[in-house]
């Protein structure tokens, strides 16, 4: 059967079919392009950049570390490092199979390094992958840089990159506070995505704790390469300017820190000292002796360096202020006095008779004073550091009550200072004996704890925080070493972030309790017969407590000064000034001093107070009878109390330090 259709209708229908088929296909095509350009654009954009652009990192300048007055303690200095461009090397090796061997020989010559080590470094860098150059050496001398540049035509793949090396101009000074930096390890690289191989990051101290501020943000240049691997020039639109790290101002006072370190170095003491402001917890000086030189770590960190440090008999990497665990000795009597008075175990008038020794819980305990102190009340007990008084107090309180007060006053837990590796120490109690030691607590042990011996161990910083709380009327501040963080934007504008002081808790002690303790502590230094007379400075009401810690069990009364170093006594001096207006706490601890706390530790405290209150001391010694001095005072040319002199005072040599 044949059907003839109207020809034109027939064609028009089919033309319309073609037309709509086209519309559909065009919409489909547009959709496909949307898929590639709209949805997958980011993926292809990075592929396109990977094609044409090679990233060259512009390292961010690490922030400065400065003391509270702006003295630079850590900066960065330019130095040169050597790396190999792996992309260029590949093409060169393709053209000349021997090129790699020639390159290694050349690098070995320049660095004075045997070939196998060159190979090892190269392999280590290659394994790290990516397009980044392979790091080979750091801290090239100018001669080495010149030698490499002379051969740049033969070895174009060798890069000499200017890098910024961390520099600590005062070497070991404040090293335990600042810590050090080093290359990011495998662990860091695995956990932190923003790091790449060869990045320098803080490893200890402020460098570690404030690394996020100090490190800044690396920038990058992008160099354009064509499909044949020719370098065309920098691709400016992609350039990312590096953001310099923030400057970190420490709470540390350079002068105090320097004097304190000097003291340890001159006397060859091993130990710790910390000065803090009891009004806000700012650490003014923090010394752990001996110290290390952090500049050593700024170079490529080798296992040998680490072994040298780890094998040092005096544990130079240990920050004794926060990591050193010691018996507090008589310094703990401060806590005992406050606890006894506050808990009602003793009153201000309670008096015990000291005959040089006494029997508690069936055991005989000695007072350090063989002949006894006679009748002593709490203030005098502190002044002469009478053991018998505190044995009695401890016996009345019991170990758990003592532990309660000790913990309130910062012992047995970290102080939360902004430094790494802080230790908590131990405050013994019946609970502690049962849980940690799986034994019963013996009441006689309480008697040892009462004079700061026994299982009780503390850090010097905890002692300082305790002293600060006693001095400031009962506020326990979180100690901190960083005062301000200063951000300098690329446009030069400066913004500052102040680290706020943080009161962790307030003691619920009656004001008169602290008053009695403070009176006792004042008498230690300022009354005849006190154990801390060595710290006395006229014009400054220094208050404090001495402590001597026996390292070996002693069966009699004798000095350990002549004994071998490791058997000598430790010496403590914990103090603050001024009595009614406390502005600084100083705790000094000398390991194996062999002498009484008042002998070896108190002089440093005295020195620091003199430095800190220089102007007050000056004022106290001003001869007001001299008309010229009076004139100067009226015109305001002499420094006012509490205001730092504009220039370092020239006349401080007469002040006895």
């Amino acid at each position: 059967m044949r059907v003839y259709r109207d020809d034109q209708k027939f064609l028009n229908f089919r033309i319309n079919v073609l037309l709509w088929a086209n519309v559909i296909v065009f919409v489909f095509l547009a959709g496909s392009f949307w898929f590639v350009q709209g949805l997958q654009a980011d993926k292809y954009r990075s592929l396109s950049e990977a094609n044409a652009l090679r990233e060259i990192v512009m390292p961010a300048k690490r922030g400065l570390i400065l003391d509270r007055n702006g003295k630079i303690l850590a900066d960065t200095q330019p130095s040169y490092s050597l790396s190999i461009d792996r992309v260029l090397l590949k093409t060169l090796v393709k053209n000349d199979a021997n090129h790699k061997a020639k390159l290694f020989t050349f690098i070995g010559q320049i660095l004075g390094m045997p070939l196998p080590e060159v190979q090892t470094r190269f392999d280590k860098g290659v394994v790290a992958g990516g397009m980044q150059p392979i790091p080979m050496a750091e801290d090239l001398s100018i001669e080495q840089v010149a030698m490499i540049q002379a051969q740049s035509i033969s070895f174009p793949e060798i890069n000499v990159d200017p890098v910024q090396r961390r520099n600590y101009p005062y070497a070991s000074m404040a090293s335990h506070i600042m810590g050090f930096i080093g290359e990011a390890g495998e662990k860091d690289l695995a956990t932190r995505k923003d790091l790449k191989l060869g990045d320098l990051i803080g490893k200890r101290g402020v460098e570690l704790m404030y690394d996020n501020y100090l490190r800044g943000k690396d920038g990058a240049q992008y160099w354009e390469y064509d499909s044949r691997g020719r370098r065309l020039g920098e691709y400016r639109p992609s350039r990312k300017e590096p953001v310099a790290g923030d400057n970190v101002y420490l709470t540390i006072d350079f002068e105090l820190q320097r004097r304190a370190e000097q003291y340890f170095i001159e006397n060859e003491f091993v130990g710790a000292a910390v000065a803090l402001d009891p009004r806000n917890g700012e650490v003014l000086a923090l010394v752990s002796s001996p110290a290390f030189n952090p500049n050593v770590f700024s170079k490529r960190f080798t296992p040998e360096i680490y072994r040298n440090i780890a094998s040092n008999p005096f544990k130079i990497e240990l920050n004794r202020v926060i990591q050193g665990l010691y018996s507090p000795g008589s310094v703990f009597k401060t806590v005992m006095a406050a606890a006894g008075l506050d808990a009602g175990a003793i009153g201000a008038g309670t008096s015990f008779d000291c005959g040089g020794s006494g029997t508690f819980f069936g055991r005989r305990f000695r007072c350090w004073q063989k002949n006894g102190h006679g009748a002593v009340n709490v203030e005098r007990a502190l002044k002469v550091s009478c053991d018998i008084f505190f044995y009695n107090t401890g016996g009345r309180l019991g170990v758990d009550k003592i532990a309660e007060y000790a913990k309130e006053l910062s012992f047995g837990n970290i102080t939360q200072i902004d430094l790494d590796g802080e230790k908590a120490g131990i405050v013994p109690s019946t609970d502690w004996a049962a849980k940690k030691q799986h034994r019963k607590w013996y009441p006689s042990e309480t008697i040892s704890v009462a004079i700061g011996q026994g299982p009780l161990i503390v850090t010097p910083l905890q002692v300082a925080v305790m002293m600060a709380a006693i001095a400031n009327g009962g506020t326990v501040f979180r100690p901190h070493v960083v005062r301000t963080i200063e951000h300098v934007a690329n446009d030069g504008s400066v913004s500052r972030l102040k680290v706020a002081s943080q009161a962790l808790r307030t003691l619920k002690m009656k004001p008169e309790v602290l008053e009695h303790v403070r009176n006792g502590l004042w008498k230690v230094v300022n009354e005849e017969g006190g154990t801390g007379g060595n710290a006395r400075v006229s014009g400054l009401d220094i208050s404090g407590k001495t402590g001597t810690v026996q390292v070996i069990a002693q069966s009699g009364w004798f000095s350990t000064a002549g004994l071998p170093f490791m058997q000598r006594d430790h010496a403590w001096f914990a103090s603050y000034a001024k009595k009614d207006n406390p502005e600084m706490v100083v705790v000094v601890f000398v390991e194996h001093a062999g002498a009484h706390g008042g002998t070896d530790s108190a002089p440093l405290a005295k020195m620091l107070y003199e430095a800190r209150f220089q102007d007050q001391v000056t004022n106290a010694r001003l001869n007001l009878a001299d008309p010229e001095t009076l004139e100067q005072l009226k015109e305001g040319r002499l420094p006012q109390p509490g205001v730092a002199p504009k220039e370092p005072a020239q006349n401080d040599s007469g002040l006895g330090h």
Partner: protein, 365 residues
């Protein structure tokens, strides 16, 4: 030849669309080559091709297509002679003998011009065939008109160009009208021919088809082109990287960037917006052409326009699809945009012919 009364009936919308597309093409060629070819030789040559193409276009507008139908057998015959000459004396270039050298270093591809001549020949044939359905004899004649040049081109062996004659087969069968038994016969023939054809294909051609079927097969080899084209297009995003700023094209990561893959340059530099604009222009161009086909004065005019626009559609769809790997990579240029003398001229002539049919749609003209 062309009366003055005809000039006002020239469809300026259609001509304008074609010229805008051609101008975009010139800009893209400039952008794709200025960096690697600072003397702008390629760009200047394309301008020359455009100029020659415009002259040819003018001729193909001016001469009444009925006159062209009359001389179509002569043109078709010349084309067949040139293709035969190539097989006998042509030089092999890039695996094929498809170029005729002219004095002065110029060369041209007779197969491109043969597309126009074959379309004319086919339209002339349908002009005299008034039936809605082809009978067997006329079906064979139509197939022979198209098959002749295709056979000669396949022997060059330039499968890509031969394949561009496919739309003519489609036009003949779909618009010429064949009964269902011929469709079945055609399908059977194709089913038998495919494996034989596969066997005859050259290695590189097989490879191109295999890459299409399995795109991850050889990312650094033949798949490289599509990969780089997709990177170019995708990295352009919505707004594109801007004129002359496409790194894929500029730094020569994108192969055939001024010829087969010029659409990727568009995608990279002008982004999705540019892609949609150019696709829109093409669609507008196609819709207008099909309207011309509907309104043509006679069957010959209708078939001529349909044949020519099907060339455009085929080239556009194949070329644009291969940019993002929807279809395999072939050497099929993008009409009016890709660089190339013969193809530029061919498409300009085609534009002229469509305008020619449009102008003469009134019987009393």
């Amino acid at each position: 030849m062309m009366s003055r009364r005809l000039l006002p009936t020239l469809d300026l919308n259609f001509l304008g669309t074609a010229l805008v597309i051609a101008s975009i093409g010139c800009m893209l060629i400039y952008s794709a080559t200025y960096f690697g070819d600072p003397s702008l030789n390629i760009f200047r040559k394309q301008l020359l091709w455009m100029a020659i193409g415009l002259v040819l276009m003018a001729i193909f507008i001016a001469v009444d297509y009925h006159v062209l139908f009359d001389i179509a057998p002569i043109l078709y015959g010349i084309g067949m002679v040139l293709l035969t000459y190539l097989l006998a004396y042509g030089k092999v270039k890039a695996h094929v003998k498809s170029w005729i050298q002219l004095p002065g270093g110029f060369q041209f591809q007779p197969s491109e011009f043969m597309k126009i001549f074959t379309a004319l020949m086919l339209a002339k044939f349908f002009d005299s065939n008034e039936r809605a359905y082809l009978n067997f004899r006329s079906f064979l004649v139509a197939m022979a008109i198209i098959g002749g040049p295709v056979l000669l081109i396949v022997m060059q062996p330039d499968f890509g160009t031969a394949a561009t004659f496919a739309p003519l087969f489609g036009v003949a069968m779909f618009f010429g009208g064949i009964r269902w038994r011929y469709w079945v016969a055609a399908l059977v023939i194709v089913a038998i021919a495919l494996p034989i054809g596969w066997h005859l294909l050259h290695g590189y051609q097989k490879e191109r088809i295999m890459i299409f079927l399995d795109r991850e097969r050889d990312p650094l080899g033949s798949g490289y082109q599509v990969t780089q084209a997709k990177i170019a297009i995708g990295s352009g995003g919505i707004h594109g990287k801007g004129f002359k700023n496409g790194t894929q094209a500029k730094l020569e990561f994108l192969p055939a960037r001024h010829t087969d893959f010029i659409f990727a340059v568009l995608g990279e530099e002008w982004g999705f917006i540019g892609v949609v604009i150019v696709l829109g222009l093409y669609l507008f161009f196609i819709v207008q052409s099909l309207t011309v086909a509907k309104h043509a004065r006679d069957r010959g005019g209708t078939f001529l326009v349909i044949s020519l626009i099907c060339f455009f559609i085929f080239h556009i769809l194949i070329n644009v699809s291969m940019q993002i790997g929807v279809l395999p990579t072939t050497g099929i240029p993008l009409p009016l945009i890709s660089y190339g003398g013969s193809s530029t001229m061919m498409f300009m002539m085609a534009v002229g012919l469509i305008l020619n049919v449009d102008m003469r749609r009134f019987v009393n003209a």
